[in-house]
Symmetry: C2
Subunit: 234 residues, 2 copies
């Protein structure tokens, strides 16, 4: 099932030499997705970048779904190896690294939704996140839930602040702002709190990432310190 994601490239066989490789196909797909968005990735489009035709790709990949999965795991890459840090700093830099990845490959936000098979790189990310939380006294389930919360936050912040090439109707941040302010003037009475909230907002870019992250880490710290206070004096 997940041979594509985990299997080693088996070289020796009988027929003609393959003209391309699975990794090469995936890289071509990544290049297209980075430049033109995930919607621009089609079998034909990928084949155009390689010395093969569209149908030849199906010798390497059972379908587009699986190809996107391979692309995604490959683009995710290996998480940067950080030296030993206290759990809070470790999780913080881990989050920032994750955010960097999502900004480098915005389409990952679209291709990694819902239930799916996990590839080696994605599992390594999880492993590194868990590493940061070992020794905190949290149970395994709590550790998993913790990195899930952090991941969710990073994902959605990235989703909101990224410009998707192609995909969405070319909406700039200004378009949204303009539409919103126009609505708030014509329908002000329906959204009083939103109006005041926006009025008292310093439009500083991307502080949402740090804000939410600090809240989550604060919440985790509360739990962890309580957990330690309960176990260590006993």
């Amino acid at each position: 099932m997940s041979d594509l994601l985990w299997g080693k490239p088996s070289l020796p066989s009988r027929g003609p030499k393959p003209a391309v490789t699975l990794a090469g196909i995936a890289e071509a797909g990544i290049r297209i997705a980075d430049a033109e968005g995930l919607d621009a990735v089609s079998m034909q489009r990928i084949a155009d970048e390689l010395p093969v035709t569209k149908m030849a790709l199906y010798r390497y990949v059972p379908g587009k779904t699986e190809l996107i999965a391979v692309m995604s795991d490959l683009a995710m890459g290996d998480p940067p190896n950080r030296p030993d840090l206290p759990w809070r700093e470790a999780l913080h830099t881990w989050s920032m690294d994750l955010y960097d990845g999502f900004t480098r490959h915005p389409w990952l936000l679209l291709s990694t939704v819902g239930r799916r098979l996990l590839g080696p790189n994605e599992l390594t990310w999880i492993e590194r996140g868990l590493t940061a939380l070992t020794g905190t006294g949290l149970t395994g389930g709590e550790q998993l839930d913790s990195i899930l919360v952090v991941t969710s936050h990073v994902r959605n912040i990235a989703q909101q602040s990224t410009t998707f090439p192609g995909h969405t109707t070319g909406l700039t941040e200004e378009d949204m702002q303009e539409s919103l302010t126009q609505i708030l003037t014509t329908e002000a009475e329906r959204f009083p709190h939103l109006a005041t909230a926006l009025r008292t907002t310093a439009g500083s870019e991307n502080q949402g990432l740090e804000f939410g992250l600090q809240r989550i880490l604060d919440g985790l710290e509360l739990l962890i310190s309580g957990r330690k206070a309960a176990t260590s004096p006993h």
Copy 2:
């Protein structure tokens, strides 16, 4: 631009009576998306459910993108009106209501990603969330960031625990578990922390929602109480 989402249905005109309505089209689309997933929603498929042909739909909607936007805002519905509660309880029930919405219409998780124009219902959700946070001493930006964190968490938990009809390759939770345990046996040395974390996990369903939510609310409470301690004695 957002006339479709915000405009009133203008009745009187000259030509023949319209055979359908925008709301009717959107409801048909919602029905299909609920039952068969977002991918099953096509112009042809919607037209099959209505007494018109595919092309007639374009008299009511400029394109599929806008139709999905209308469907999304409609499916989101009005947030349940809760009596006045302390901010923490208010935000908690708000989150649960939001989660309910996402489980009722899982495709909303797919249709409401990225930059987009906000409809009246979506804005009302935001307004209600902000209402819970008024009087906490948080700035407008902090209030917005707060509900963003909560929303992100709810979204991603829903995303993970929901079975998408159609969309993904029919992967059950068992398939993922099986694939994961198989990987962890063959590649155990690469993911030690993950292995132990999964071993010490009580497989209780969906506690991730409550866990993360409580962490976030704890973090917010820490900020809010600090904010109040700084202002009230002064």
